[in-house]
């Protein structure tokens, strides 16, 4: 599959937005869906639907096999050691809540510290916040530097005897900085501290190897990976999934239920209570196939070229203030314009068919630090081109014209 014609695989690009071709630069928020993924959902519901893991009839067995196939595909895609280290959740948010709840309840006590970074999305902060309320643990934030990065040194500075877990993003959804997660994990493990990686902005763009990174937990958002909404993945080392208690109770996750005794099912069922997002899981297998057909190395190369180009043209535009300049650039670039608020930028860009996000991008801690109430963010996916970034730049110039700024 050739990355240069990849837009053809996405039906959304056949539509016009305000009579313009769609320039979709909001993939950090959610990616568009290839036709094969959309078709798979339709086919499953129309030809193969059944609940999984329960009944013995033909459709149930077939659906269960498809569901488990995706688990194996994900295991291979991220090079996890065991397929039972893959837990399906309703999103990356639930994946992080799962760890905060189970690990937090079992291992954290008053005075313990959780180390996050100032780059974290609210979904890798708020779940830990409840442990402050419930248990009196403390949350520390490793500092972001002026380039929008969190370095291994700034992590190290905040680690002490009380640090009981480190939860950091793989890639910032605002500054685009790629964090040295392997080094952070090595450092943490050398001090006996487990590590959770929020992989929302990493998994769609970068080659993943869980055994190489060696992190304890890695949270994935499937809808940012050309997959359906309502689905996320928690990768967790088997030792943790065996050790930690279940997160939610219900059907499917039990072994034996008596009036005076309940025992829990084996992995992976222990963490998948109730009817899961079956169609989404099955369709996500097509997302993995899609990524494999292009090849993650090609995706990384393509997006790296684009982000460098994005930085280059926006730097030349003298009203644009880029808010960061990380050495390792992921697929997002955030900026402000002199004299024009980010929301006004987003509305004017939208009129040109250019879809970006404006606001704090669920990162209020970072925006407080930057002393900016809101920024505009362009973020990339496989389907973007240099032409898209040129259109972004032209639309920015239109903002300047309307607001009569230079």
């Amino acid at each position: 599959m050739n990355i240069d014609n990849i837009k053809n695989e996405f039906p959304i690009f056949n539509n016009k937005v305000h009579n313009n071709d769609l320039v979709y630069l909001d993939s950090a928020n959610s990616s568009q869906k290839p036709k094969i993924v959309v078709d798979r959902i339709y086919d499953f519901y129309t030809k193969e639907f059944s609940n999984v893991g329960r009944s013995v009839h033909y459709l149930a067995v077939a659906a269960t096999n498809l569901y488990e196939n995706t688990r194996t595909s994900v295991q291979k895609y991220i090079n996890a050691k065991d397929k039972n280290e893959i837990v399906f959740t309703k999103g990356a948010t639930e994946a992080i809540n799962l760890v905060a709840n189970t690990y937090g309840n079992q291992y954290l006590k008053e005075g313990d510290e959780i180390l996050l970074t100032e780059l974290e999305h609210h979904s890798n902060y708020v779940p830990w916040h409840y442990l402050r309320i419930k248990k009196g643990v403390k949350i520390e934030f490793a500092e972001v530097n002026k380039d929008g990065e969190v370095t291994i040194e700034s992590i190290e500075k905040k680690i002490n005897q009380k640090t009981k877990i480190i939860a950091v993003t793989h890639v910032s959804n605002v500054t685009g900085a790629i964090l040295p997660i392997k080094e952070i994990t090595q450092l943490a493990h050398s001090k006996g501290i487990p590590v959770l990686i929020d992989g929302c902005q990493g998994a769609p763009h970068l080659k993943l190897d869980m055994q190489d990174i060696d992190c304890d937990f890695y949270a994935i958002s499937c809808h940012k990976m050309y997959g359906p909404t309502g689905l996320g993945i928690l990768y967790a080392k088997k030792k943790w999934l065996e050790d930690l208690p279940p997160y939610q109770g219900g059907g499917g996750m039990i072994k034996e239920v008596k009036k005076d005794l309940i025992t829990y099912g084996d992995l992976p069922n222990k963490y998948e209570a109730g009817t899961m997002a079956t169609a989404q899981v099955i369709a996500f297998d097509e997302s993995i196939k899609f990524l494999n057909k292009i090849g993650i190395n090609n995706i990384e190369k393509h997006e790296k070229e684009l982000i460098e180009y994005g930085y280059e043209i926006l730097r030349k535009n003298n009203s644009v203030r880029l808010i960061s300049n990380p050495k390792q650039k992921g697929s997002a670039i955030s900026f402000t314009l002199d004299g024009i608020h980010a929301h006004d930028i987003a509305t004017i860009l939208d009129e040109e068919g250019v879809a970006i996000r404006a606001g704090h991008h669920c990162c209020q801690i970072l925006h407080d630090k930057l002393e900016l109430p809101a920024t505009a963010r362009a973020s990339l996916g496989v389907y973007n081109t240099k032409d898209d970034l040129d259109k972004l730049n032209e639309a920015i110039n239109k903002c300047k014209k309307i607001f009569n700024t230079k």
Binding site: I340, H343, T347, A358, Q364, P373, A374, F403
Partner: protein, 157 residues
């Protein structure tokens, strides 16, 4: 959709140079408004005299051109009005910005209505209506002294 209707000269002017962007001395009513989705913030200060007329009104805050212009125009219009009339004006504005064709209240003069109608372009941009209404809702909260209790749990860390 028409960007020119949204970003009229008067909106851009009020957005760039907001009137009454300051803090009233000796204010006797105030409220803070916050739109958590976009981060817009506004703090409205009111000084009512013994006849319950608005002697002064001002605001502090930050936000997009629409929200700043809306607060600026609103504070200009409200000065000198009676407290009991303000709510009628606010409701009339809120109905107009969401659906109604025009402003109906007799409490505003024609030139005041014309000025306010400059904000009516926002109607075509449903995601931006909240930008235009934030300061108006906050004004109501200031008059009612009904500042939403800030979630204590999240503050007491």
């Amino acid at each position: 959709m028409n960007l020119k209707e949204l970003y009229q000269e008067i909106i851009l002017d009020h957005g760039k140079n907001p009137r009454n962007l300051r803090k009233t001395e000796n204010f006797n009513k105030d409220a803070k408004g916050h739109n958590p989705l976009c981060g817009d913030k506004v703090h409205i200060y009111l000084k009512l005299n013994e006849n319950n007329k608005v002697e002064d009104i001002s605001f502090e805050g930050q936000g997009c051109a629409i929200s700043m212009a809306s607060a600026s125009i609103m504070t200009d219009l409200v000065r000198g009005k009676e407290e009991k009339d303000i709510k009628v004006i606010v409701n009339d504005f809120l109905e107009m910005i969401k659906q109604k064709e025009e402003l109906n209240t007799k409490l505003l003069k024609e030139d005041e209505k014309t000025k306010l109608m400059c904000l009516s372009g926002v109607k075509q941009y449903p995601m931006r209506v909240k930008c235009a209404t934030l300061s108006w809702h906050t004004l109501t909260a200031a008059i009612d002294n009904s500042q939403n209790k800030i979630d204590k749990e999240s503050l007491e860390i």
